[in-house]
């Protein structure tokens, strides 16, 4: 008595009087979720390779609903923090993460068994698979509930889910469910029967302590055994779901053992719909966190960093250190190639980054990274980079040079201009613009003229912008504009470093003697042979 009173008090103080019962692990304010809209401008997802990233994150996930969450960015700092907390908790607590992952897998099995049961023909078969689902469900839910109860949870989302789960598993309904499934299963497990299959004739009979033959045979030939057994991949089709022959066999078995089957019938009738809808939703929504954390694991293993950006709505400063293009890094890591990381920062009145430098020098990649981190920031997920402060934009607009559009009747330049106009019309001070080689089809003087005019329009709107161009002239348009350059190796200008810097750094000159090149000097060799 004292004990339960104590727990009650504990919860009330923990929740700080905030008594909204748990609804969703993805949305702090579940009711407001439906108001979320994002201008799903197809170009943005294509240009920034977001489509590719989301595809890579969610490939292999059965639940296609999940993909939609990655296309539904958030607009409230509070909501983003709600997700950050859950992410941080799952990321820092490996055992919690694994436990929840297992929970999700098991819940998927439960749902699969249930829908399978619905489709079956023979009654005992139907009830049998339903029983499997109940069994798995009760075990899975109990296990998670117990685990979370003993865990010192810090995120608001998981705390209130844990509270919900504790109340649920302590309910009479759940206890009864657990007890019943155990009883029915145990009595069915005691059933053992025998068959004599002789041609088309089948005799079903009760087992009377007969010996299995297998071990004797194995024993006889054991002496020839050695470690590597060839694995004969014998194809015995596993047929799940009974047919008339199995049904006839089972009906014979029921005659030898009637009781367990009577128990099963009544359990099925009484508890047919057993699953809790909130728990079911949690098992779906939490996958958002799992797939993302699983996805970024490979990058972390390659030494790349992720961080929880500070998301702001003012324009004091934004920055990102050691960021990278998530789509490119995915391919690089697959090929076991190095990934180059880059920084940017904009302070005070600085609004627009102009990137210049050689072709294939990593400029477009940098532009994508800039856009990706802002989009991912709006999803409330950890973003590429060691440390970041990013702006909570209302929208992202992109204009990338695209080859396939060349046949446009209006002429390339005109259509470019129309598109940029459209972007500028929609842009608010809270938006983000990324322009990549826009107006590259024009003559240089025309392009400079257009670019300068567009830039001053954008500067008037006062939104954050990134502009990739070959026009050095526009890199110096006042203190709101800063210049970054794709660097090459000082030693050999044909080598791109893929570093984009606000200032150029000095390359280090070096010369290696032949022996040093192969680590074959006396000192090097000493070390190698000792090591």
């Amino acid at each position: 008595m004292v004990c339960s009173y104590h727990i009650g008090v504990f919860f009330i103080s923990l929740m700080g009087g905030d008594n909204i019962s748990f609804k969703s692990i993805l949305f702090k304010d579940f009711e407001r979720k439906n108001n979320l809209t994002f201008e799903r401008n197809q170009n943005v997802f294509e240009d920034l390779h977001l489509e590719q990233i989301i595809y890579n994150i969610t490939s292999g996930v059965e639940n296609k609903n999940l993909i939609n969450y990655f296309y539904t960015p958030l607009n409230e700092v509070e909501e983003i923090k709600y997700r950050h907390e859950v992410f941080i908790e799952l990321e820092n607590n490996q055992s919690l993460f694994e436990t929840i992952k297992t929970f999700v897998d098991k819940m998927n099995n439960v749902k699969r068994d249930l829908s399978f049961s619905e489709k079956l023909e023979y009654q005992y078969n139907k009830e049998g698979w339903w029983l499997e689902a109940v069994d798995q469900y009760t075990k899975t839910v109990s296990k998670l509930s117990l685990y979370l109860l003993n865990e010192n949870l810090s995120s608001q989302g998981l705390q209130s889910f844990s509270k919900y789960l504790t109340e649920y598993t302590n309910s009479n309904y759940f206890s009864k469910l657990k007890e019943m499934v155990k009883r029915v299963k145990e009595s069915l497990e005691e059933v053992t029967y025998c068959l004599n299959i002789d041609g088309l004739k089948v005799m079903v009979y009760k087992w009377e302590d007969e010996e299995e033959y297998e071990n004797d045979i194995i024993k006889t030939f054991e002496k020839f055994k050695n470690l590597d057994n060839k694995d004969y991949e014998l194809k015995i089709p596993t047929i799940v779901g009974m047919d008339h022959v199995e049904n006839e066999i089972i009906n014979a078995v029921v005659k030898f053992y009637p009781q367990p089957f009577e128990l099963l019938d009544s359990f099925y009738a009484e508890y047919y719909r057993f699953m809790d809808p909130v728990i079911e939703r949690f098992s779906e929504e939490i996958q958002f966190y799992i797939v993302y954390l699983d996805f970024i694991k490979r990058f972390k293993q390659s030494g790349l960093k992720f961080c929880y950006p500070e998301v702001i709505t003012s324009k004091d400063e934004i920055y990102l250190y050691e960021g990278f293009d998530l789509a490119l890094a995915y391919d690089k890591i697959k090929k076991e190639e190095d990934v180059v990381v880059n920084d940017f920062w904009l302070k005070n009145d600085e609004r627009l980054i102009v990137i210049t430098g050689p072709n294939q020098g990593g400029k477009t990649t940098f532009a994508r990274m800039f856009g990706q981190v802002h989009y991912l920031g709006k999803l409330g997920v950890p973003i590429p980079g060691r440390k970041a402060k990013i702006f909570l934009c209302d929208n992202i607009f992109t204009h990338f040079e695209r080859e396939e559009k060349v046949q446009n009747l209006k002429g390339k330049l005109e259509s470019d201009l129309l598109e940029v106009k459209q972007i500028i019309d929609m842009t608010t001070p809270m938006s983000l613009i990324i322009l990549n080689e826009t107006f590259s089809s024009a003559t240089v003087s025309d392009a400079i003229f257009l670019a300068k005019n567009i830039i001053s329009k954008i500067l008037n709107i006062d939104c954050y912008t990134l502009y990739v161009t070959f026009l050095d002239e526009i890199a110096s348009m006042g203190k709101k504009v800063i210049s970054m350059v794709a660097m090459v190796s000082k030693h050999d200008p044909s080598i791109r470093t893929y570093k984009i810097l606000r200032k150029s750094a000095d390359g280090k000159a070096y010369a290696i003697s032949m022996a040093e090149k192969y680590s074959l000097t006396y000192e090097q060799l000493e070390r190698r042979l000792k090591g």
Binding site: Y124, Y193, C194, D198, E211, Y213, F221, L234, E246
Partner: protein, 498 residues
């Protein structure tokens, strides 16, 4: 049941795909030795190549094999008979095995049953040979093999195996036990021994009250789906047994393959033994020392590949050195230095493989690895790239080398000028011998040789290709300090003034 004719405690792993050291084969001329051992038998060629190239580090293994080989020489006809028996058994499987293309349980089981019946006959023959000739063999290896056969292949084994194989033809149907699995579907189907009570009840089907309680039904002959279900249940009950018997067949086959393979090595050694005997070339059983010792004692050591290729005996060398880590060999071109270096490597490999070596007397320490780095004059590369190539090769060697290895260098680092070559070589060799690597270095790099000569180190020995007063070469390698000029001039004059 293991063969254990190459190791006292384990099978030789012929399946390991360790990469061949092609440089070693090429530099030491080992392929000539393989060919002589194989006597045109591709299987033996493959085996001796594997065994020789995986030369042993363990002293007792080497002596274990020497004893077995002596038995082989003394009992050649019996060894050949066992060898041929193994081949016959392997051939039987090739001819009879039908299960190989099948992933079907029933056919795998019936194929396995008939194959095992045939293998049992060969095993009975092995047993009778070992009973008959046991006394004629002295080596631990052969004695152990014969006693294993006696212990494992008993009459009780043969009769039990034959009875079980007969039961597995299922004359009175399948007896199967089952439990209820997920979905109330049958699971854990297990084959039972034929149940006598059930057999009686089947015969007297009118007496329904007989134990055990039962229910019988029959399928319509055209009920294909139902028949498939029954087949499925049957196959699940014999799944494990089918695999076990198929594996048993594989393992008996492997025993015969292992027997054939391990004996093939000795058959190869017999071939080489006979060939050298016919040439009247000397050979002896070497006396190995442990890895960490430094002993090089031999007399009449010759390049066996050269002797085999020429079909006659060739000049041998002698050495009596202990405590040396570095041997620097200088002297006249075409004075037998490369041949000497090769004979050192060949004998080391043959000794560590556990057979005889081409010498009158041979006793050295065992080496962890035997590695060669020979200058390749024939490499079609630009001069500038050659040093790069040499160093790259050396870098690979260093990455894999272990303490107490033997490194045979032939004109290494001579792709650059002498000063640079010597500079590189001094550093490398110093580091190597300070780290327990044994080095034989045939070189023209006088500055390098002089550097070590002036240091007068205890663990360095200088050898030189002999040249008589009249300039004639004897192809003998003797102790001797490095001399500033080589004998290329002689050679030049001999060729151009002739």
């Amino acid at each position: 049941m293991k063969v254990l004719l190459l190791y006292p405690d384990q099978n030789f792993n012929f399946k390991s795909h360790e990469e061949y050291n092609d440089d070693l084969i090429r530099d030491l001329g080992l392929d000539v030795i393989f060919e002589a051992m194989a006597k045109k038998d591709a299987f033996i060629y493959d085996i001796v190549k594997k065994v020789l190239l995986s030369y042993e580090n363990d002293l007792s293994t080497i002596l274990y094999r020497q004893d077995i080989f002596k038995d082989c020489i003394n009992n050649k006809p019996i060894v050949e008979r066992i060898y041929n028996l193994a081949i016959d058994a392997i051939e039987t499987k090739k001819k009879s095995w039908l299960g190989i293309f099948s992933t079907n349980v029933s056919s795998l089981l019936s194929s396995s049953v008939s194959l095992l019946k045939m293998f049992l006959k060969f095993l009975r023959e092995v047993r009778s040979i070992s009973d008959e000739y046991y006394e004629k063999f002295d080596s631990t290896g052969f004695r152990k093999l014969f006693s294993t056969i006696k212990k494992e292949l008993t009459e009780e084994f043969f009769s039990t195996a034959e009875k079980q194989l007969k039961d597995l033809t299922f004359e009175s149907g399948f007896f199967i036990k089952a439990k209820l699995g997920p979905g109330i579907e049958g699971k854990d189907y297990q084959l039972l021994k034929p149940n006598k009570k059930v057999l009686i009840k089947k015969r007297l089907s009118k007496l329904a009250f007989l134990k055990p309680p039962s229910y019988t039904f029959s399928l319509h002959p055209r009920d294909d789906a139902g028949i498939e279900t029954l087949t499925n249940i049957r196959e699940r009950s014999i799944n494990q047994i089918a695999k076990t018997l198929a594996n048993a067949g594989d393992h008996i086959l492997e025993f015969f393959i292992q027997l054939r393979s391990e004996l093939a090595f000795y058959m190869g050694a017999i071939n080489l033994y006979e060939k050298l005997s016919n040439l009247n070339a000397p050979f002896c059983f070497p006396e190995p020392y442990d890895l960490d010792r430094r002993v090089r004692k031999f007399t009449g050591l010759y390049d066996v590949s050269l002797a085999l290729a020429k079909g006659k005996t060739v000049i041998g060398n002698e050495l009596n050195a202990t405590g040396k880590d570095l041997f620097i060999i200088t002297g006249a071109n075409r004075g037998g230095k490369t041949t000497f270096l090769r004979s050192i490597g060949q004998a080391q490999i043959l000794m560590q493989s556990g057979i005889f070596v081409p010498a009158i007397y041979f006793s050295t320490n065992i080496n962890k690895k035997i590695v060669t780095h020979f200058y390749r004059k024939e490499d079609p590369q630009l001069e500038s790239g050659k040093l790069d190539e040499e160093l790259r090769r050396f870098d690979r060697i260093v990455s894999n080398i272990k303490p107490n290895s033997l490194l045979l260098l032939n004109e290494s680092f001579s792709s650059t000028n002498e000063r640079e070559g010597s500079e590189i070589a001094v550093g490398i060799i110093k580091a190597l011998i300070e780290n327990k690597i044994e080095v034989f270095y045939v070189t023209h790099l006088y500055e390098f040789a002089k550097h070590f000569y002036d240091k007068n180190l205890e663990n360095v020995l200088f050898l030189r290709a002999e040249r008589k007063e009249d300039g004639r070469r004897t192809f003998k390698i003797l102790e001797g300090e490095p001399l500033p000029t080589s004998y290329a001039k002689d050679l030049y004059e001999k060729i151009f003034n002739n």
